[in-house]
Subunit: 459 residues, 2 copies
């Protein structure tokens, strides 16, 4: 039992917390970071990183099969054992020791345990009381939300953690939720041999993106990966039985599978913080309410960054918010704007879906006079070498009054890195007439910009 | 023998000429396009396209070997026959019939033959005289320059056309010139089994790019592809003999090979135009001198676009200039600025080298107060999935007074599409402080932007 004091306490050692702690320590602050589980967070061990490790091999195999001369047969298959071993390497076998030197080099004290607020700028971790002279930054992240489905609590349902770290390939799996997590993991496991049924209650997969993106992903999951995609379907109850469990749909149909993965959303990880002790604001889901400097309730000492504030649940946005918060704490006022503009996001399915800014519908909903300009993603000469014939759609959403882009979506083969140019154009408010001079090299797939601008000019 | 009249005559049906003719025809102009060889031009049949077809398979094979679980052995080799067959497919077996409908749909008259000026707005093609009421656009492109090396004329030396269309893999090859063409073709043929010696007279390969780029390419050509790279070496004479020919170096050493590829530069294709008939300006190499609207000598009727004006010899710049010229002809004044800013360019070697704007040395030479910021290209989490461990350097050149980027170079695994964000940032003059809000998605390789901006902030 001891009392410790720092300039700042960061709660949570995921990407947002680590970046914030690092920046404050680099500026000379004495910083403690409190983490009950693994340094590196959900993203490193249970989300972005392992899912990419599971998805990449199939993407590379498919491309190798498309390029004549590469010695891979048309019926070649992945080696699941090797894929899972590489996944384990990526997540360091869930051992965070390789992350610790980074903290040590910066003099950041790692306190393992759960923090509980006991007053302003004071938390308790186990038997210790830790106080901050300047600030506490909440970066405790989010966990998988479990929907109130009859019987779901009685079966061994998987969340993203189970699905990204599974050590064998299930014979069959029901996936609840066709957002990025459900879509990516459906494809990943199907590519390794699992018979997957994906159940989405909305009208499209990837409901927050342009409708064409979800439709293209659904078509690909069905056609290339053999996934049974059920759109507009809901599971009413789940029972143990059959191959493992039986789910009953609202339509009356039944699905049987070995495993069920629940990927219907996230909830903030605040239960153990005892927020009542400091009376903070939160929305109806429990996400902490922040201003654009990431301060909770306008407080000078309490910040919330990353998933826990619910502004935009992406690792990169969390890291961005870590920069915003640390700049403000260090006396350089800056406001977070990326979430309002529409944060960049990539779903690493086949087709990949990369988007930034507003969709057409989102732009119209806020009253902008917008026009969508669409071209095929594989319509450039460069695309005859990369992802030949893989289709996809590229869209920019143009604010016709301002003459700028307010949204962009690229679905298709490895579109992730086509996105940044759109992000710069949107954030920089670069006029379309100026973008016409931003020539893309021939023959690269970035010539999609030429196609988009020509299509926009044609009206 | 006949007299024909059009609104515009475009000389040359390469990418620049085709785009210009198409835009004018779309605007209702009566357009003729004159081409002595293949519609589609050098790029489609003998340059960009076939070289990419030759390079892509090795890149895909290498990546497949890096990703565990993809069924490709560490010693797997390309099938050269399949690679060459795919190359032939890409260049349509040098048959341009698939290009003709595009012209026909636009009502563009294709006149096959060589044009010769016989007066203002008048050319002769074979027995026909063709006149333009409004404009003549010269887009005749460039050809390989042959250096004055003793004996070179007496051997069957290859130029880019021979090297991109060869129907068998030579056992050995000397490549003269380590620019983009020489570097790409050295790697392509080496990857198919040719023993290549690359001779470059300057200090680095890719002499117009950042020095580190040429050094990294040289190291890779030597280490991964077994190319004998000779920097600072010059060939003094060439004679038939040995395996095919023997080259004598200025150092006295001798090189023997089956073939010799000359890739030391380009010259404008203007010999047959009889430019004396219209008295136009040209530089010392014969490239036509244009203003920023692409007019030759300020003329209202004579334009020059593409390689022939020597402003920047790239297909994409030619297409850009076609847009600039057609806009001006159609009464919408616009000036070409991409060449002055520093045109984007990609060398598709391994590592790939993608660059835009000024190099550090070029920026210093024009008196800018610049600082170079370098980070490893494979240092992002995204790069652990794509091109793992392949190295490379990413550099931005920052104008410290303006707070903007004036140049960027990305060497490494498939960096071509990382470039466009830099091009937009430079052309849009987006301040670095604003770029900090252009968040890159996790885990994509575009997070190189975060690394670059963090490194810049650290100073």
């Amino acid at each position: 039992m001891s009392d410790k004091s720092f300039d700042a306490i960061v709660l949570g050692a995921g990407p947002a917390g680590e970046v914030c702690a690092g920046r404050l320590a680099d500026a000379g602050w004495r910083v403690a970071i409190v983490e009950p589980h693994l340094v590196g967070g959900e993203c490193s061990y249970y989300a972005c990183m392992p899912s990419k490790a599971l998805l990449r091999p199939a993407a590379v195999l498919a491309e190798a099969q498309r390029v004549p001369g590469v010695p891979v047969g048309a019926n070649a298959e992945l080696d699941p054992t090797a894929v899972l071993a590489r996944r384990d390497e990526v997540i360091h076998d869930r051992d965070d020791s390789s992350q610790l030197p980074w903290l040590e080099e910066r003099g950041i004290e790692l306190i393992r345990g759960e923090a509980r607020f006991v007053g302003e700028r004071r938390v308790q971790v186990g038997a210790d009381t830790v106080s901050a002279e300047k600030a506490v930054v909440v970066a405790t992240g989010s966990g998988a939300a479990m929907p109130p489905i009859d019987g779901l609590g009685g079966v061994r349902a998987w969340n993203n953690r189970d699905a990204t770290t599974a050590e064998r390939v299930p014979a069959s799996m029901i996936v609840l939720g066709g957002g990025p997590v459900g879509s990516e993991l459906s494809q990943a496991w199907a590519s390794l041999g699992t018979e997957v049924t994906l159940v989405e209650g909305g009208k499209h997969l990837l409901g927050r993106d342009e409708p064409f993106a979800g439709e293209e992903v659904a078509q690909s999951l069905r056609g290339r990966y053999g996934v049974d995609v059920r759109i507009g379907a809901t599971v009413e109850s789940v029972r143990a039985g059959g191959a493992g469990l039986v789910a009953t749909l609202a339509s009356g149909g039944k699905l049987e599978a070995e495993e069920i993965l629940v990927a219907v959303g996230r909830k903030p990880q605040t239960e153990t913080l005892d927020l009542g002790a400091i009376r903070v604001e939160a929305d109806e889901h429990g996400f902490l309410t922040t201003d654009d400097r990431l301060r909770v309730g306008g407080s000078a000492w309490l910040y919330a960054i990353g998933d826990v504030n619910g502004r935009a649940l992406f690792t990169h946005v969390g890291k961005y918010q870590a920069w915003v918060a640390s700049e403000n704490l260090l006396g350089h006022p800056v406001e977070a704007i990326a979430e309002e503009i529409g944060p960049p996001r990539v779903t690493f399915t086949d087709p990949m879906v990369a988007a930034v800014g507003r969709t057409l519908a989102q732009a119209q909903a806020v009253g902008l006079a917008v026009r969508a300009v669409d071209v095929p993603t594989d319509g450039t000469p460069g695309a005859s070498f990369q992802g030949k014939g893989t289709g996809g759609t590229s869209r920019i959403v143009v604010d016709e009054r301002a003459g700028t882009i307010v949204g962009a979506t690229f679905s298709g083969f490895e579109t992730a890195d086509l996105l940044q140019a759109a992000t710069v154009a949107i954030v920089g408010a670069v006029p379309l007439t100026r973008l016409r001079h931003a020539v893309a090299p021939f023959p690269t797939r970035s010539e999609i910009w030429l196609k988009l601008l020509e299509a926009w000019e044609r009206g």
